[in-house]
Symmetry: C2
Subunit: 111 residues, 2 copies
Protein backbone atom coordinates (compact mmCIF):
# COMPACT_ATOMS: atom_id res chain seq x y z
CA UNK A 1 0.00 0.00 0.00
CA UNK A 2 1.51 3.27 -1.14
CA UNK A 3 1.87 5.29 2.08
CA UNK A 4 1.05 8.57 0.37
CA UNK A 5 -2.38 7.27 -0.53
CA UNK A 6 -3.38 7.43 3.14
CA UNK A 7 -2.98 11.19 3.14
CA UNK A 8 -6.19 12.89 4.07
CA UNK A 9 -7.79 9.62 5.17
CA UNK A 10 -5.89 9.03 8.39
CA UNK A 11 -8.42 11.01 10.40
CA UNK A 12 -11.28 8.88 9.13
CA UNK A 13 -9.42 5.70 10.04
CA UNK A 14 -8.60 6.84 13.55
CA UNK A 15 -12.06 8.18 14.31
CA UNK A 16 -13.65 5.05 12.91
CA UNK A 17 -11.58 2.73 15.04
CA UNK A 18 -12.58 4.69 18.13
CA UNK A 19 -16.28 4.64 17.35
CA UNK A 20 -17.19 1.55 19.34
CA UNK A 21 -14.87 1.96 22.31
CA UNK A 22 -12.02 4.11 23.62
CA UNK A 23 -8.54 2.80 22.85
CA UNK A 24 -4.94 3.82 23.46
CA UNK A 25 -2.48 4.48 20.65
CA UNK A 26 -0.84 1.10 20.57
CA UNK A 27 -4.19 -0.68 20.55
CA UNK A 28 -5.35 1.59 17.75
CA UNK A 29 -2.43 0.51 15.61
CA UNK A 30 -3.25 -3.13 16.26
CA UNK A 31 -6.92 -2.57 15.53
CA UNK A 32 -6.06 -0.99 12.19
CA UNK A 33 -3.94 -3.99 11.31
CA UNK A 34 -6.64 -6.43 12.26
CA UNK A 35 -9.47 -4.72 10.49
CA UNK A 36 -7.47 -4.26 7.32
CA UNK A 37 -6.38 -7.87 7.25
CA UNK A 38 -2.79 -6.86 7.89
CA UNK A 39 -2.63 -4.33 5.07
CA UNK A 40 -2.39 -1.26 7.29
CA UNK A 41 0.86 -1.00 9.23
CA UNK A 42 0.69 2.58 10.41
CA UNK A 43 3.89 3.61 12.19
CA UNK A 44 3.84 5.14 15.67
CA UNK A 45 5.35 8.32 14.27
CA UNK A 46 2.16 8.74 12.30
CA UNK A 47 -0.43 7.70 14.87
CA UNK A 48 0.69 9.51 18.00
CA UNK A 49 1.04 12.95 16.45
CA UNK A 50 -2.24 12.46 14.60
CA UNK A 51 -4.08 11.58 17.81
CA UNK A 52 -2.73 14.70 19.49
CA UNK A 53 -3.81 16.77 16.53
CA UNK A 54 -7.31 15.32 16.64
CA UNK A 55 -7.50 16.02 20.34
CA UNK A 56 -6.35 19.58 19.82
CA UNK A 57 -9.09 20.06 17.24
CA UNK A 58 -11.62 18.66 19.69
CA UNK A 59 -12.59 15.39 18.01
CA UNK A 60 -10.95 13.31 20.73
CA UNK A 61 -10.37 13.53 24.46
CA UNK A 62 -7.77 11.55 26.39
CA UNK A 63 -6.90 10.40 29.85
CA UNK A 64 -3.97 8.53 31.37
CA UNK A 65 -4.25 5.10 32.92
CA UNK A 66 -1.80 2.56 34.28
CA UNK A 67 -2.39 -1.05 33.30
CA UNK A 68 0.03 -3.80 34.25
CA UNK A 69 2.68 -1.29 35.20
CA UNK A 70 2.51 0.44 31.82
CA UNK A 71 1.14 3.87 31.19
CA UNK A 72 -1.51 4.33 28.56
CA UNK A 73 -3.15 7.38 27.17
CA UNK A 74 -6.65 6.36 26.24
CA UNK A 75 -8.51 8.33 23.57
CA UNK A 76 -12.25 8.55 23.18
CA UNK A 77 -14.52 10.21 20.60
CA UNK A 78 -16.14 13.47 21.61
CA UNK A 79 -19.59 14.47 20.35
CA UNK A 80 -17.81 16.71 17.87
CA UNK A 81 -15.66 13.78 16.79
CA UNK A 82 -18.70 11.60 16.28
CA UNK A 83 -20.21 14.19 13.98
CA UNK A 84 -16.93 14.51 12.18
CA UNK A 85 -16.86 10.78 11.60
CA UNK A 86 -20.20 11.01 9.83
CA UNK A 87 -18.72 13.70 7.61
CA UNK A 88 -15.61 11.62 6.95
CA UNK A 89 -17.74 8.68 5.91
CA UNK A 90 -19.79 10.66 3.41
CA UNK A 91 -16.63 12.38 2.15
CA UNK A 92 -15.10 8.96 1.61
CA UNK A 93 -18.09 7.78 -0.39
CA UNK A 94 -17.97 10.85 -2.59
CA UNK A 95 -14.22 10.58 -2.99
CA UNK A 96 -14.28 6.96 -4.15
CA UNK A 97 -17.19 7.72 -6.42
CA UNK A 98 -15.43 10.62 -8.11
CA UNK A 99 -12.03 9.01 -8.54
CA UNK A 100 -13.61 5.72 -9.50
CA UNK A 101 -15.67 7.34 -12.22
CA UNK A 102 -12.52 8.75 -13.81
CA UNK A 103 -10.50 5.55 -13.48
CA UNK A 104 -13.24 3.33 -14.82
CA UNK A 105 -14.19 5.58 -17.71
CA UNK A 106 -11.62 4.17 -20.14
CA UNK A 107 -11.65 0.66 -18.81
CA UNK A 108 -15.33 0.26 -19.60
CA UNK A 109 -14.99 1.97 -22.96
CA UNK A 110 -12.27 -0.47 -23.94
CA UNK A 111 -13.98 -3.54 -22.63
Amino acid sequence: MNPDALRGHMDALLLSVLEREPLHGYAIIEALQERSGGALNVPTGTVYPALRRLERIGYLSSEWATVGGRKRRTYRLTDSGRKQLQGERSAWREFTSVIGSVLRAEASALG
Copy 2:
Protein backbone atom coordinates in the same frame (compact mmCIF):
# COMPACT_ATOMS: atom_id res chain seq x y z
CA MET B 1 -13.76 17.61 -2.30
CA ASN B 2 -10.92 17.92 0.17
CA PRO B 3 -7.88 18.65 -1.99
CA ASP B 4 -5.55 16.68 0.27
CA ALA B 5 -7.47 13.51 -0.42
CA LEU B 6 -6.14 13.52 -3.98
CA ARG B 7 -2.63 12.94 -2.78
CA GLY B 8 -1.16 9.82 -4.26
CA HIS B 9 -4.01 9.47 -6.75
CA MET B 10 -3.17 12.28 -9.13
CA ASP B 11 -0.96 10.03 -11.24
CA ALA B 12 -3.74 7.52 -11.69
CA LEU B 13 -6.13 10.26 -12.78
CA LEU B 14 -3.74 11.73 -15.31
CA LEU B 15 -2.68 8.41 -16.78
CA SER B 16 -6.28 7.27 -16.98
CA VAL B 17 -7.41 10.34 -18.85
CA LEU B 18 -4.64 9.81 -21.39
CA GLU B 19 -5.44 6.16 -21.98
CA ARG B 20 -7.73 6.61 -24.96
CA GLU B 21 -5.98 9.48 -26.70
CA PRO B 22 -3.16 12.00 -26.29
CA LEU B 23 -4.20 15.33 -24.80
CA HIS B 24 -2.59 18.61 -23.83
CA GLY B 25 -2.64 19.96 -20.28
CA TYR B 26 -5.60 22.27 -20.61
CA ALA B 27 -7.68 19.55 -22.25
CA ILE B 28 -6.71 17.14 -19.48
CA ILE B 29 -8.08 19.53 -16.88
CA GLU B 30 -11.33 19.80 -18.81
CA ALA B 31 -11.53 16.04 -19.23
CA LEU B 32 -11.13 15.53 -15.49
CA GLN B 33 -13.96 17.98 -14.86
CA GLU B 34 -16.24 16.30 -17.35
CA ARG B 35 -15.64 12.75 -16.22
CA SER B 36 -16.06 13.64 -12.57
CA GLY B 37 -19.29 15.50 -13.17
CA GLY B 38 -17.67 18.79 -12.24
CA ALA B 39 -16.28 17.54 -8.92
CA LEU B 40 -12.63 17.67 -9.94
CA ASN B 41 -11.28 21.16 -10.48
CA VAL B 42 -7.57 20.50 -10.57
CA PRO B 43 -5.60 23.75 -10.79
CA THR B 44 -3.00 24.31 -13.49
CA GLY B 45 -0.31 24.59 -10.83
CA THR B 46 -0.99 20.97 -10.00
CA VAL B 47 -1.40 19.51 -13.47
CA TYR B 48 1.52 21.00 -15.36
CA PRO B 49 4.23 20.08 -12.85
CA ALA B 50 2.68 16.63 -12.45
CA LEU B 51 2.75 16.03 -16.20
CA ARG B 52 6.40 17.00 -16.35
CA ARG B 53 7.16 14.68 -13.47
CA LEU B 54 5.38 11.79 -15.19
CA GLU B 55 7.30 12.49 -18.37
CA ARG B 56 10.58 12.57 -16.48
CA ILE B 57 9.76 9.19 -14.95
CA GLY B 58 8.98 7.83 -18.40
CA TYR B 59 5.24 7.26 -18.19
CA LEU B 60 4.47 10.03 -20.67
CA SER B 61 6.07 11.56 -23.75
CA SER B 62 5.26 14.98 -25.14
CA GLU B 63 5.52 17.01 -28.28
CA TRP B 64 4.69 20.59 -29.17
CA ALA B 65 2.03 21.59 -31.64
CA THR B 66 0.49 24.85 -32.75
CA VAL B 67 -3.27 24.90 -33.15
CA GLY B 68 -5.16 28.09 -33.98
CA GLY B 69 -2.14 30.21 -33.19
CA ARG B 70 -1.77 28.66 -29.73
CA LYS B 71 1.02 26.40 -28.64
CA ARG B 72 0.15 23.11 -27.05
CA ARG B 73 2.28 20.45 -25.47
CA THR B 74 0.53 17.19 -26.13
CA TYR B 75 1.17 14.25 -23.81
CA ARG B 76 0.75 10.60 -24.68
CA LEU B 77 1.10 7.39 -22.67
CA THR B 78 4.28 5.39 -23.19
CA ASP B 79 4.30 1.60 -22.93
CA SER B 80 5.71 2.02 -19.47
CA GLY B 81 2.89 4.42 -18.61
CA ARG B 82 0.31 1.97 -19.82
CA LYS B 83 1.72 -0.69 -17.55
CA GLN B 84 1.81 1.78 -14.71
CA LEU B 85 -1.85 2.57 -15.27
CA GLN B 86 -2.68 -1.09 -14.76
CA GLY B 87 -0.79 -0.97 -11.50
CA GLU B 88 -2.53 2.24 -10.45
CA ARG B 89 -5.91 0.66 -11.08
CA SER B 90 -5.21 -2.42 -9.00
CA ALA B 91 -3.64 -0.24 -6.29
CA TRP B 92 -6.82 1.84 -6.28
CA ARG B 93 -9.00 -1.22 -5.87
CA GLU B 94 -6.89 -2.46 -2.99
CA PHE B 95 -6.80 0.97 -1.41
CA THR B 96 -10.58 1.43 -1.43
CA SER B 97 -11.05 -2.12 -0.20
CA VAL B 98 -8.70 -1.66 2.74
CA ILE B 99 -9.91 1.76 3.85
CA GLY B 100 -13.50 0.78 3.22
CA SER B 101 -13.21 -2.28 5.40
CA VAL B 102 -12.02 -0.16 8.31
CA LEU B 103 -14.61 2.58 7.81
CA ARG B 104 -17.51 0.18 7.44
CA ALA B 105 -16.55 -2.08 10.32
CA GLU B 106 -18.32 -0.05 13.01
CA ALA B 107 -21.16 1.16 10.85
CA SER B 108 -22.34 -2.37 10.18
CA ALA B 109 -21.79 -3.44 13.78
CA LEU B 110 -23.97 -0.59 14.97
CA GLY B 111 -26.60 -0.98 12.27
